[in-house]
């Protein structure tokens, strides 16, 4: 346990000096600010740009538009930035051979593995909910009529999807030694999920629902069987990725 704590402190120091926390803080804050802004601003921008001879009917933006922007920004910017920034979490250590000293001094390998995962998990939790809080505050400010029904379910499922990708990133970092292999693994995993979504039977069970059905969930405000199945599969996959990653990491050559 002492080793675990010490390693976590070392990780936090390293990530602060590497500007990782700084970058993520800015990106997630920008996503939080940008979502209500663009929901509010886009219709006006469109109506200014369109020629007067053309009429299109634009409905007034509501709080749902704000959250829609939040979900798409979160998927397309913040989650990508997070995976990119943390893709070198283990490869840098292999590269420099810095883990060798700690392992030979008696720090268990599993401690290293789970401490690294914990740091990623905690920073994802912190930045995600920070971004959420910013969007929530501004959404209430600009769209006072909005409610929070169903918000926790739709935002929480996106949060769980992030954890799934982090677990996959960690376990692929244990399998491969280069910087780009974990990135490709996560990208490939997403591509496979999108392809499998073509089959209705698999779609019902696919974890991809957690990231793609958020707006729908916000309106429905309760989970259906498909979502429950997808939550179940995601939880299983997170455990599976973590376990095979740690099994592999125990036997991994460290330099």
């Amino acid at each position: 346990m002492r080793g675990f704590k010490a390693f976590i402190i070392k990780e936090i120091k390293e990530n602060t000096r590497n500007y990782r926390f700084f970058i993520l803080g800015i990106v997630f804050a920008v996503v939080g600010l940008l979502s209500p802004l663009s929901a509010r601003f886009l219709p006006e921008l469109l109506s200014n740009m369109i020629d007067e001879n053309i009429t299109i009917i634009l409905s007034d933006p509501t709080y749902i538009d704000s959250w829609m922007q939040f979900f798409s920004n979160m998927n397309q910017m913040a989650l990508v930035a997070f995976v990119l920034v943390f893709s070198s979490i283990l490869s840098k250590e292999y590269d420099k051979g810095t883990l060798v000293h700690m392992v030979t001094k008696g720090l268990p390998r599993l401690t290293i593995y789970y401490a690294k995962f914990t740091v990623m998990l905690v920073s994802w939790t912190f930045f995600f909910w920070m971004s959420f809080a910013i969007t929530l505050g501004y959404t209430f400010y600009y769209f006072p009529e909005g409610t929070t029904d169903g918000l926790f379910l739709s935002v929480g499922s996106l949060y769980l999807f992030g954890i799934l990708l982090i677990a996959l990133l960690m376990s692929s970092a244990a399998f491969f030694s280069t910087v780009f292999a974990p990135l490709l693994t996560v990208g490939g995993f997403l591509a496979v999920l999108f392809i499998l979504n073509l089959f209705p039977f698999i779609e019902e069970w696919s974890p991809l629902q957690l990231a793609s059905r958020n707006t729908e969930l916000l309106i429905r405000t309760n989970a259906d069987t498909a979502l429950n199945q997808s939550l179940f599969v995601s939880a299983l996959l997170i455990l599976f990725f973590l376990v095979i990653g740690s099994i592999k990491f125990r036997k991994k050559a460290l330099n």
Binding site: F22, P36, L37, R40
Partner: protein
């Protein structure tokens, strides 16, 4: 038009400050970075200043060269 702009100020000001913090951090780091040649520094400075948000981030992630 003025009315709409002041409507957005509570959100635009923090956004602007975040951009500024990012830009200044990247520029300060670049000016102290002695692992880059003079030419590379000029190119990075242009990238940092002219590409909003993404420019400084790209520098801090890829251009820093381990310190």
């Amino acid at each position: 038009m003025m009315q709409t702009i002041s409507d957005y100020l509570p959100i635009l000001i923090p956004l602007f400050i975040l951009q500024l913090v990012l830009l200044v951090t990247a520029i300060i780091h670049l000016s102290k970075n002695d692992r880059l040649t003079q030419q590379n520094k000029i190119i990075w400075a242009l990238v940092i200043v002219f590409i909003n948000i993404i420019g400084p981030i790209i520098y801090l992630v890829f251009g820093r060269k381990e310190d």
